[in-house]
């Protein structure tokens, strides 16, 4: 059972190295997706949210890593 849990953790670790970073990026993508779905005419806004959001998350992650 322990081996199974370790294997599953290893498998999940392949896709998610840093949980907080993955969650933040997911939130950015979901927000951009909602904006694109609600206002298709403002699709450029989704692009701006994605670019600024991803860069913001990257900078925030580096700052957090530095503090830790």
């Amino acid at each position: 059972m322990t081996n199974l849990i370790v294997s599953l953790r290893e498998l999940a670790g392949l896709f998610v190295e840093d949980g907080a970073l993955a969650l933040a990026i997911t939130v950015v993508v979901v927000v951009a997706g909602i904006v694109a779905a609600v206002a298709p005419a403002l699709s450029w806004l989704s692009g701006v949210i994605l670019v600024c959001g991803c860069l913001g998350v990257l900078i925030g992650n580096v700052a957090t890593a530095r503090r830790n």
Partner: protein, 147 residues
Amino acid sequence: VAFTTEKEELRGQERRNERRLDYLAGVASFKAVLLEGLEVVFIVIALAAGRGVRLPLSAAAFAACALVALGGVLLHRPLTRVPENALKFAVGAMLSAFGLFWTSEGFGVHWPGADLAILAFIALFLGTGLACCALLNRRTSAAKTAS
């Protein structure tokens, strides 16, 4: 941080059971190959969806795999001299740029310059990453000087 953690974990496993080093190397390689293989499958499916080009794209993916394997066999010695972190940094910037571009395309965003926007995104991620590194190095140096 992730690289250091993973390295320490492997070192710990090495100390605990030195006879199983080959097994550990095999598992580490398998994880990397599994991850990259899955990425290729996802990319092929995403690009081929609804366009009826799954077969040619799959063939292209296999050809690329064979090419990379051949390159690995022929260039494994010089490749070991490439700084690992620099390589990861460059690949990370490229993957982030491709991911950002394809996600936004999925949301109906049309970037100026079409596919050329990917180059701008790569530059953006590289620039931001390098700026973060420079800032961190400066703060670390300042902290060392102060202490």
